[in-house]
Symmetry: C2
Subunit: 494 residues, 2 copies
């Protein structure tokens, strides 16, 4: 497929130099407009022309304002990165809306390298290609302008350059031992690169394969493509993206049907004495298990969702009581910060992912997208509809990395909730927990039930099932969560 | 000094239990008010009672809202942390205004451990104590409510606990092999701990040494202290802090005196041909040197400041042209984000510090505090006055860690600036760089000269001198910066 980039595209220096000044004016102006826009620009520059990659990067620094542009040229992953799922290192570097982020090599370069080194087998390569496609799809759906350039240098041309560099060592510092490696591996890497480029070239994020032999052609072509795409996007806002794949599924139940929540047996109870005994037993067990998990590097992510006043705080307190503070972290999810709002909504969850062996507790989570944000209209319909597959992709990566993901819905009924609301009003230190909103939410009880039913239906997976925990009786719920976490830890620790 | 915490403080369980409910009400309410306040709360819990530390932590989770509280119990530093100055791991975890951050062991615990292991000699301990004092002073000056609790457990009491844990293994999970270690090292650690606690107990950040034998006494004492301090701080805003130490120094020159800038020879020039030749030479040199630096792990931090239109962008472009994109990062400093504003002003510079072997370029920097923020009144007088010592402490830590810190002031005169402003108006893609503000700044030229004089006087140190670069002639300035960076790299690489 790269033959099309070996036809000898050229641009004369004189022509190039007459074109560049205007291009520069237009690009800087477009970049200036971008700062007020509500989408980020993500530029991927990959390919086998290492020197060309650096050269176009310099050009971009010349024709644009470096202050609103961030370059990410990543070496091998650090220890902190290796302890998280593969895409963590990319998520944490995504540019916010209004900015440009350039990735050299990026996720594709890493994949090709690992396939070449045989770190990944063909099956794993397919899986990673699938992750890349979905990752890019989610970014584009979120509004990102994603531009991917593959610089192709024919083998003969690379050889010529290497020879010249040998002849003129004073100018040859731009040629690296890495280039010699690229040359020696050329024929073996080519088919791998072709596969990856072909299969990650999608409708919403196609590759621009650029012949890299002539620097003027290459630089002009890339700069122009960036300018044109950016200008188009600034003048014609992106069409609303319809949800992809399983986004077509709609609620399979009607207003009056029972939901999956009706199957939860809310009469479950634990008498005081038994509660104390079991609490002690499971806390001791959890303490031991979390220490073992720490030693072998097994991380847990616990997600807590539930009705208002379902007792999330109390459950979490019983969990952490059993753990060493070095081993856990609680992340409460409230309204996003300005910085978080400037990114894909999953960005703020990615950034918190735990290191190996730790327990991370999310007090509310990414499920807000398809619960409160859906019901209150904070997310548009296309946004929450595509969230199911975004969430599944995210959780799949967690689980693939070996993270133990546990999701709990603490379930109470409306009467129990009202009893607790009233009790709160009589408990001075809990009063501030009550707002008008809590009462308003009660009116939407049925909407929530339907949304919850769909949530379980679509995001309860083999690797990350939903646990619907009966919580009308607090002791029962607390012990149940402890027990479930212990059981899964035991299973995973063998 | 810990004898005072061996007198047998006790509180009866019954008394404790009557006091706690009200405490809880008050604490939750105070914490609620804190959310609207403009300061963070930093709680340090250290000492030799490991189980007690965990116990009080649980209590704090019970009596406060865990959602606005972050616990930091740090193990050994990660690879990414080891590549940065010691305090990086603490800076990156500081709570924003309105929130509570709890540090277990914290910077003091690490220091005691390293002294015990003989990783640090007595001289180095003194130095680290000095860093701690200044770190805490800067946090407090910035408004943080810093509360430090040292839990002291007498040796006999620790022994008793360990024995009991052996007798009742079913409850003994809260006792750790670590506790046995603490016991065996008790007598050797005690004098080290005493020194560190004594010397880091300052007027603005005293240690509360708490007898930890009786959990009710310990928990009540700490919880009450937190409540009282927080309430006091919420009702009586902090008095304006007068600058400490060298903050007393004032400008030693008067309005008409020449400043240090007058010594810069602005007639320096480089003819075109020579410029091209030198540029090529030094870029090749810099490329080689930055690769070597990467290999041995020598990081550089380059700071660029200068008059508007002094040519910072052009200099930076010539630098990065010579480097491999994997090796450098540019951080442009504009207005701080919401998240950055919620922290000490140095926080956003700390968070960007480079990994070992990398080059980090700051396009404007922390010097904004004592230049534009001082002159425009964005920082209050006490704020910018104490910034000199804050900056020196920051840079000292960078240099102590082995980072090569280079600071450049690009100097032009007012006439040259006006020529460039006018040229910009005639260059379409530079037009947007011009604002009214640029002209207004010209009127403050003399104010800036005086501020710059003081800046050089007070922050040009042996380990991080200011380089005042003549920049009326752009080629000269570009080559000069390249040359200076090369020279320092060569010196450091030996």
């Amino acid at each position: 497929m790269f033959e099309a980039a070996e036809v000898g595209h050229k641009i004369r220096k004189a022509e190039y130099e007459t074109l560049v000044p205007q291009l520069r004016v237009d690009l800087v102006n477009a970049q200036y407009d971008l700062r007020q826009a509500d989408f980020p620009v993500i530029i991927v520059i990959a390919g086998n022309d290492r020197a060309g990659r650096n050269d176009i990067l310099r050009k971009l620094h010349e024709v644009m304002d470096a202050r609103f542009m961030q370059t990410n040229a990543l070496g091998p992953p650090t220890e902190e990165e290796l302890e998280r799922p593969r895409f963590w290192r990319y998520w944490r570097r995504l540019p916010p809306r209004g900015r440009i982020g350039i990735f050299l090599g990026a996720w594709v370069g890493a994949l090709i390298r690992e396939r070449f080194d045989s770190t990944l087998n063909p099956m794993q390569v397919r899986q990673q290609i699938d992750h890349i496609r979905r990752f890019e799809e989610h970014l584009v759906n979120d509004g990102a302008l994603l531009l991917k350039f593959w610089l192709h240098l024919p083998k003969q041309e690379l050889k010529k350059r290497l020879k010249q560099a040998r002849k003129h060592p004073e100018r040859g510092w731009q040629v690296d031992t890495e280039d010699w490696e690229i040359y020696s591996r050329y024929d073996k890497v080519l088919p791998i690169a072709e596969q990856v480029v072909r299969e990650t070239s999608t409708g919403e994020a196609p590759w621009h394969v650029v012949e890299s032999t002539d620097p003027h052609y290459r630089n002009l072509h890339i700069t122009r493509t960036i300018l044109e795409s950016l200008t188009r996007r600034l003048t014609q806002p992106q069409a609303v993206v319809s949800p992809s794949g399983n986004g077509q599924v709609v609620n399979t139940i009607t207003e009056d049907d029972p939901t999956i929540l009706d199957r939860v047996d809310l009469s479950k109870k634990l008498p005081r004495a038994e509660y104390r005994a079991q609490l002690r037993t499971y806390q001791a067990q959890l303490n031991r298990l979390t220490r073992q998990a720490r030693e072998v590097g097994l991380a847990s992510v616990l997600v807590f969702e539930g009705w208002d006043a379902a007792g999330k705080g109390g459950v979490i307190r019983r969990l952490i009581t059993a753990m060493d503070p070095v081993n856990f972290q609680i992340v409460p999810i409230a309204a996003p910060t300005e910085e978080e709002k400037a990114h894909h909504y999953l960005w703020r969850f990615w950034r918190h992912l735990p290191r190996a062996g730790r327990v991370l507790i999310f007090d509310r989570s990414w499920y807000g997208r398809i619960l409160v944000e859906r019901i209150e209209g904070f997310a548009s319909e296309p946004e929450w509809r595509r969230a199911y597959s975004e969430i599944n992709a995210f959780e799949e990566q967690l689980s693939e990395h070996g993270v133990l993901l546990m999701k709990f819905w603490l379930h109470i009924d409306a009467d129990e909730q009202m009893r607790r609301f009233q009790a709160r009003l009589n408990t001075p230190y809990k009063k501030y927990k009550m707002t008008e909103e809590d009462y308003r939410n009660r009116e939407k009880w049925r909407d929530y039930e339907l949304a919850l039913h769909e949530m379980v239906q679509r995001t309860s997976t083999e690797y990350a099932p939903w646990h619907l925990v009966a919580a009308n009786n607090k002791p029962w719920a607390r012990v149940e969560v402890l027990k479930l976490h212990c059981r899964q830890l035991k299973r995973r620790l063998g």
